[in-house]
């Protein structure tokens, strides 16, 4: 029954027009960035590298597909959560708003399985968005700009990564990005259980992300205590794969924190949904 319901959830997502908004917007955003960089990327890049030109001599094709992919992930990882929440935040509350939740819950399937199906379907949609982002930013940029070494500007200096050394870093970065976005998906589904309208969970998810990001960026002792436990702190850990050397312990810590958040959101959602009186 669980597999059948997961299949049903996929069918619902595929048939919902809003599911294609995320993919459409992502495509437009990535193509716009690529178009802009193709037109005027070199002048933007020379503005960034000008401060190093007294001590370093850059040769070769700096503006290449690998660097463009890095720039795209850096720019979009902040916006993609909204596109994810737009679909996943509606998975339970949308059914309550439509009234179909009554019909779903009166079928011989446990409430925990209903929620599990939605988490899995939400995860699959998140994976699809991440893959699409990877496909357009890594492969399409590679085709459009050609491949080359990646220059990454970190807080502690400039890191130059060889072309042959970047593919696995991108793959790992996309995997961690997926886990970050999966946390957003889990959060929005969890909030969706508490609501009977579609908009509430989507807005709440974004509000939580903004709040946690602000807390993460303000340097005061009270907030510094909280920061390691906020999932938003660990959402940027994909960037660690572009450090030299890579600090594995930091990445593992981020992965663990994100996994714990996912489990926590799922547990809260199941507990709440099991207790919930369906009155809509």
């Amino acid at each position: 029954m669980l597999y059948k319901n997961i299949y049903n959830e996929f069918i619902k997502i595929l048939n919902k027009p809003r599911s294609y908004i995320g993919i459409g917007v992502l495509t437009v955003l990535i193509l716009t960035i690529e178009f802009a960089l193709k037109l005027d990327g070199n002048s933007i890049l020379s503005f960034v590298t000008s401060s190093f030109e007294q001590t370093l001599n850059f040769s070769g094709k700096i503006l290449n597909g690998n660097l463009v992919a890095f720039i795209i992930i850096q720019m979009l990882i902040v916006h993609v959560p909204l596109l994810i929440a737009l679909v996943t935040g509606d998975l339970v509350s949308g059914e309550a708003a439509m009234g179909t939740i009554r019909m779903l819950v009166t079928k011989p399937i446990s409430r925990a399985n209903i929620i599990l199906s939605k988490f899995i379907a939400g995860g699959a949609y998140t994976l699809l968005i991440t893959l699409w982002m990877g496909l357009l930013s890594f492969y399409f940029s590679g085709w459009l700009f050609g491949k080359g070494d990646v220059i990454v500007l970190n807080s502690d200096g400039l890191v130059i990564l060889k072309e042959a050394d970047v593919a696995w870093r991108f793959l790992s970065a996309f995997c961690v990005s997926f886990l970050s976005l999966l946390t957003i998906s889990s959060l929005s589904i969890c909030l969706s259980v508490f609501s009977d309208n579609s908009i509430g969970p989507i807005v709440s998810t974004m509000a939580i992300i903004i709040l946690f990001t602000i807390i993460g960026s303000i340097d005061i002792s009270a907030f510094n205590l909280l920061k390691p436990y906020l999932f938003t702190t660990h959402m940027a850990s994909w960037r660690s794969f572009f450090n030299q050397p890579i600090i594995t312990s930091d990445i593992i810590e981020s992965i663990l924190v994100l996994i714990i958040h996912n489990v926590l959101f799922f547990a809260i959602a199941v507990l709440k949904f099991n207790q919930k009186d369906i009155k809509s």
């Binding site: 049903n8 048939n15 027009p17 369906i278």
Partner: protein
């Protein structure tokens, strides 16, 4: 004695300080069309939601097919078909796709042929590929019936299935319910706030108000003991009034214009009144019983 399909005993539910259900008890037997009657807000939908485990009761027992709902939820739900308040479907999907989605989790294997059969049964086979968002309320109700019957349930629960329908739609749904009961031997729990609807199709009924049970029993027995309004069409209104008033001083008799007089009496007296008029050379052209359902209903729920 018929098999007890549904047993509700001392069902209680509170929403905050509000007592939504106070010790509701009733039984539905195999083959019944059981009328579940009460005014809006009386607790009908809350009871049905408790039966279907949509909301959790605070106390009381719900046994369906002789088994406790709490411990046998999945098994019981696979034998129940229901519409609560109004059937809601995924508007962005077609009628057929909606039925496919629900059939996958109905607990039994439902073939594509069965889905088509059901759509044909409710007269929607020609619209199977149309998205539900374009359906009228009546079409959604009929799709709801198809959804209800898809997995061949033994007990069908319909919560106000005719609400919002036009007269033709009401008749269609009513005939469909009767067909399901007579031809398919389905036991049906039908909730409504209209006594006339229940009287037409139900064999047994319970009336609740303000979360409490008022009365339960056979529809014919409960209604036949009540006084009804009867219209006699006679050739001589003046003489008829005089004869009846001389014989019956406790019943209400009035002229309503033309050749009609109205008499408020119990059903057993109609034949006696007719005989009396005929014996006094009054030509009785027609007798039309008009049950004072609203009065009965109001009397019952105000008890």
């Amino acid at each position: 004695m018929n098999t007890r399909i549904l047993e509700i005993k001392n069902l209680q539910k509170k929403f905050g300080n509000f007592n939504a259900l106070i010790n509701i008890s009733f039984n539905v037997y195999e083959g019944d069309i059981f009328g579940f009657l009460g005014p809006n807000g009386s607790g009908k939908s809350t009871t049905i939601r408790c039966i279907l485990s949509l909301i959790k009761q605070d106390a009381g027992l719900i046994n369906i097919f002789g088994k406790k709902m709490k411990e046998n939820r999945k098994e019981i739900l696979s034998k129940i078909g229901c519409i609560i308040e109004k059937p809601d479907f995924y508007k962005y999907m077609s009628a057929k796709k909606n039925l496919e989605v629900f059939s996958r989790i109905s607990g039994i294997s439902v073939s594509k042929n069965k889905i088509y059969e059901m759509l044909e049964f409710v007269g929607l086979s020609s619209r199977e590929k149309d998205k539900v968002k374009g359906f009228s309320h009546g079409m959604k109700q009929r799709l709801g019936i198809a959804y209800t019957l898809l997995h061949n349930p033994d007990l069908i629960i319909l919560d106000e299935p005719t609400t919002g329908l036009d007269p033709q739609g009401i008749v269609e749904i009513r005939n469909l319910i009767l067909r399901l009961n007579k031809e398919e031997n389905k036991t049906i729990l039908l909730s409504s706030h209209q006594l006339s609807e229940i009287e037409l199709i139900a064999n047994r009924m319970v009336i609740i108000n303000k979360g409490e049970k008022i009365i339960e029993g056979n529809v014919s027995e409960l209604l036949n003991n009540e006084e009804i309004l009867v219209e006699f069409n006679v050739n001589d209104v003046g003489s008829s009034l005089e004869i009846l008033k001389n014989h019956y001083d406790k019943i209400i008799i009035r002229k309503t214009g033309g050749n009609q007089i109205e008499v408020v009496t119990n059903p057993q007296s109609i034949a006696k009144i007719n005989s009396l008029l005929v014996m006094n050379d009054i030509n009785v052209k027609s007798i039309i019983p008009k049950r004072k359902l609203e009065d009965y209903y109001m009397k019952i729920i105000n008890q």
